[in-house]
């Protein structure tokens, strides 16, 4: 028997299983978009048929990092910007785990920007949800990498001279194979996208627009939104790289003009995930590495029998 019997358990999964038995007191502000992410994530789990014990959720620091406390699964609340490298290795150590990472726009596009690019480049089979509210919330309202140009805050009182980062385009260039934007104000689309992202075999990046009613009064510009898949105006092929690039450019420009375009931006199904690539070239074992430590019959080679010879 596997040491990890929760994995691939076949039964009906209830949404409520992902709600902790005793809900820790929610410390998100009233009206916060983060509630929308939590709700969509919980709703997506029964759709993909995952149970709490086989899901590992890795978060960074900030309001988004609290997601772990309200979502009942294995959790690792890491450090600012570092959820991805921790998550990546857990997936390599046990590819059967359902690995999800989450963080804010500061976390994923600022301090952890390097990891975000490289995780996409390597196409790890996991889902990354970035809570993008264009503001640093938990440190009380400073300008973030996605704040619009000219954004005034206590740390940039003259208005930011920096152009906002374009996460969708950036992740397309980096190599992510599933890229979508959704919004907390649209729970149904969000749920569908999260479920798709989890089922996607490769790195799925979701830029999740979340309003911050406390520090970013412009949050209201997230309503109304347009679903690019539902709208006749945007008839584009989500698997075509060039069309996706153009769509992302539009999406990212219009966001700052007050028009919110959401939906699937790019889906590439052909490219194998990093784990598959590594297995193919013989850099990763076929069976999950983590299993071996619990397998009494596993044979552990030693260097004396293998490596000492050429030192003799």
């Amino acid at each position: 028997m596997s040491a990890f019997s929760a994995i691939n358990e076949e039964r009906e999964i209830e949404r409520d299983e992902f709600t902790p038995g005793i809900e820790p007191q929610a410390t998100w502000c009233p009206g916060c978009g983060d509630f929308g992410v939590l709700k969509a994530l919980k709703q997506a789990m029964p759709e993909v048929g995952k149970n709490p014990d086989e899901v590992a959720l890795f978060t960074g620091i900030g309001c988004s990092g609290k997601l772990n406390s309200y979502f009942n699964s294995y959790g690792f609340h890491t450090i600012h910007g570092r959820s991805l490298p921790v998550a990546r290795a857990a997936k390599l150590a046990n590819p059967n785990l359902e690995v999800i990472a989450a963080g804010g726009d500061g976390d994923g596009y600022g301090i952890g920007g390097n990891h975000t690019i490289h995780t996409a480049r390597e196409n790890h089979d996991m889902t990354y949800i970035v809570f993008n509210n264009e503001i640093f919330g938990l440190t009380k309202g400073q300008t973030s990498p996605t704040s619009p140009k000219g954004h005034k805050s206590k740390t940039q009182p003259h208005g930011s001279a920096k152009s906002p980062i374009r996460p969708l385009s950036q992740q397309l260039n980096a190599g992510a194979t599933y890229i979508a934007r959704t919004a907390a104000v649209n729970p149904n689309q969000a749920k569908e996208i999260i479920a798709e992202a989890i089922e996607h075999d490769g790195f799925a990046h979701i830029d999740f627009l979340t309003q911050c009613p406390t520090w970013n009064k412009d949050a209201k510009h997230y309503v109304p939104y347009t679903d690019v898949q539902q709208s006749d105006e945007f008839d584009f092929d989500v698997s075509d790289r060039a069309e996706a690039a153009e769509m992302m450019r539009k999406t990212e420009e219009r966001l700052y003009e007050g028009e919110v375009l959401t939906g699937r931006m790019y889906i590439e199904d052909e490219r194998p995930s990093y784990g598959q690539e590594k297995r193919q070239i013989g850099e990763m074992p076929e069976e999950p590495l983590a299993e071996r430590y619990f397998d009494e019959d596993a044979e552990w080679e030693r260097t004396y029998d293998n490596l000492l010879e050429h030192h003799k």
């Binding site: 014990d53 009942n72 699964s73 294995y74 430590y293 619990f294 552990w300 260097t303 003799k312």
Partner: protein, 632 residues
């Protein structure tokens, strides 16, 4: 046993094959029954520049590089011949010759490749005068010419070995065996011809010198390897199957060795974007149930400070390797120093609970890396193996049986699914991962691994309650802090009971002591033997446990001596400071002998340093610093 020894130095440009030639030379001497030890010196440059390797051979185990050397094979820097940049390179091709004058002992042999150097140039560097003054036996030979006769100039290394063998009256059998083992076809034949031609040519020269190469035979089968090999093999034998890293000298060595071998052992290696990621990956793999390690050198380790603290707070076991080089900042990339001790002990925020071992030699690199994994996974704490560029680069032989140890794949204090079912759970449904008072009375609360049924918990870098929920409750805080920190006492007791990593050397009742840590231990032990032969009464204690500090052992030893000299390769006496801090006294008993010029101590320097310190004299040598006792 004799006092005879050979210290053979081969010098040339980086990229001239100096390293591999010296490795072969050392291996052949080992095969012939000698004990060998190599010392590497190289610039932070890939091709060209002055580089050398020394091979010291004796009929007893060799502990250090020794003082100076008695045979120089100077090959000439082939990369100095760059017509476009002549002005820049200047007379660099001569460097392997004249840069090595200082340490060649009186009566030594100097064999150089005249095929690469003009006579006029050689005249200019004052070789003749130096040779006369020091009674050197100078042997110019056209090694390049001999090599070219059989094909390629690069084989002048083989010619050098052949000539060395003739001059020292060593049989060429072992060298032939090596060539046959490493090469095939035309290359093999050409090299064998070069070896023999150079041997014959040098035999005719009849060089009259006093070097006697000792003879002996080993009782058991030997292996020759570096500290980095030993650390890697220790990790693999202790069940490590995941490594993540970013290249940085000298850490790259361990990273490379592990990356090359892990897949064959069913493991995973990851070269990632930076050192923060590297340590974070090791954490992620360990969290998911795999024995994992990462590492770096000073600058890269600085980036690991964050994930290191996270490992402490989440009680996720990991092993980190810190390969020291001279700092601060980028410092001297290819030069050894022992100045990152405080960096690894104290980096990262908060009161820290971590384990730090500083192996003394290749033997200890293996055993202490195994200890580091065992302790890390049993006690759920990060363990750091700190060593330096010296041990990383040096090769040494030891019995193969030292590595004949059973593997240990035990993931430590992890529960099985059955055990999780019986364990305490919080009313939120979460498993009580961080109990204040674990059932067995220890300070270790066993963990679950993602994917196990009903083992869900939250690992967080925030302070947390027993089920992992973030908590700022004062009582919980104290209970968790105490439990994490108390592990260090348990680990100390465990180490004292199972494996003392400290090494005692010299007569037990000696009046004076030399206290030393890490890679300088062997050199100090050799110096202690000489001091006692010179009529002093000295013993040494080599300390390899930096944290938790072996307070009792060091304290007892310090009580037993009148005064102690603390020898270390840094400018601020970091280990002496640690000792004083941990023991809370002996500030009036400990003085320091420090060296931080990029080269490790030689035994004679320690002898000098010790003698001038007890005589209250100034150090004669300007390359060291003496810091007297400071009081408590």
């Amino acid at each position: 046993m004799t006092d005879n020894e050979l210290i053979w130095r081969i010098a040339g440009g980086s990229g001239d094959g100096i390293d591999s030639t010296s490795q072969n030379f050392a291996k052949a001497l080992m095969w012939s029954g000698l004990n060998v030890f190599t010392h590497r010196h190289y610039p932070s440059r890939i091709r060209g520049g002055h580089t050398y390797v020394e091979v010291r051979a004796k009929d007893e185990p060799v502990q250090s590089r020794g003082d100076g050397y008695n045979f120089l094979l100077a090959l000439g820097d082939s990369f100095a011949r760059n017509p476009q940049e002549e002005a820049y390179y200047g007379k660099e091709e001569l460097k392997p010759l004249y840069e090595n004058f200082d340490d060649l002992r009186e009566g030594g042999v100097l064999l150089y490749d005249e095929g690469l150097l003009d006579d006029e140039d050689v005249d200019e560097i004052g070789l003749e005068e130096a040779a006369e003054e020091n009674n050197w036996h100078v042997v110019p030979m056209d090694l390049r010419g001999i090599a070219k006769e059989h094909g390629r100039e690069i084989m002048r290394n083989t010619a050098g070995i052949g000539a060395t063998a003739a001059i020292l009256d060593i049989s060429t059998d072992e060298f032939e065996k090596l060539i046959k083992q490493n090469m095939s076809g035309d290359m093999q034949e050409a090299n064998l011809n070069v070896l023999h031609d150079a041997y014959d040519a040098a035999s005719e020269l009849d060089v009259d010198h006093d070097i006697e190469v000792p003879e002996d035979s080993h009782d058991e089968e030997q292996v020759i390897l570096s500290g980095s090999n030993a650390i890697s093999y220790g990790a693999i034998d202790e069940g490590c199957r995941f490594i993540s890293g970013y290249p940085m000298t000298p850490w790259t060595d361990v990273f490379t060795i592990m990356s090359q071998h892990l897949p064959a052992f069913g493991g995973i290696s990851e070269q990632v974007e930076d050192e923060i990621a590297a340590a974070a990956l090791a954490l992620g793999a360990s969290h998911a149930g795999v024995k994992a390690m990462s590492g770096s050198s000073g600058g890269g380790f600085a980036l690991m400070s964050e994930p290191l603290g996270l490992a402490e707070m989440t009680e996720t076991p990991i092993v980190l390797v810190e390969a020291m080089r001279a700092g601060p900042s980028t410092g001297m990339p290819t030069k050894p120093e022992q100045a990152d001790l405080e960096h690894v002990l104290y980096t990262s925020q908060g009161d820290s609970a971590r384990v730090v071992f500083a192996p003394a030699n290749i033997r200890e690199c293996y055993t202490q890396t195994r200890s580091a994994f065992r302790i890390a996974y049993e006690y759920q704490i990060p363990a750091i193996v700190i060593y330096d560029q010296k041990i990383q680069g040096e090769l040494r032989n030891l019995p193969a049986s030292h590595f004949d140890e059973e593997p240990n794949a035990d993931p430590g204090s992890v529960l099985t699914e059955e055990e999780i079912q019986d364990a305490a759970h919080h009313s939120s449904g979460k498993f009580q991962r961080f109990l204040h008072e674990p059932e067995d009375g220890s300070n270790v609360s066993p963990r679950s691994v993602p994917g196990q049924k009903d083992g869900r918990f939250l690992a967080t870098g925030n302070e947390h309650n027993p089920s992992g929920h973030i908590s700022e409750d004062p009582e919980n805080r104290i209970a968790q802090m105490n439990r994490r920190l108390n592990k260090l006492d348990d680990i100390r007791a465990d180490l004292d009971e199972n494996t003392s990593h400290q090494t005692y050397h010299g007569p037990e009742d000696a009046d004076y002591g030399i206290l030393v840590w890490g890679s300088q231990q062997g050199t100090v032990f050799e110096a202690v033997d000489r001091l006692n032969e010179n009529g002093h009464s000295v013993k040494a204690l080599g300390v390899s446990d930096m944290a938790p500090y072996p307070k009792e052992e060091v304290s007892e030893w310090l009580e037993s001596v009148d005064e102690a000299l603390v020898v270390e390769m840094n400018a601020t006496a970091q280990f002496r400071g640690l000792t004083q801090k941990e023991l809370g006294k002996y500030g009036d008993k400990m003085s320091s002998l420090l060296k931080y010029n990029g080269n490790p101590f030689e035994p004679a320097e320690i002898v000098d340093g010790f003698e001038s310190s007890i005589d209250g004299e100034e150090l004669a040598a300007s390359n060291m610093k003496y810091v007297p006792a400071a009081g408590d």
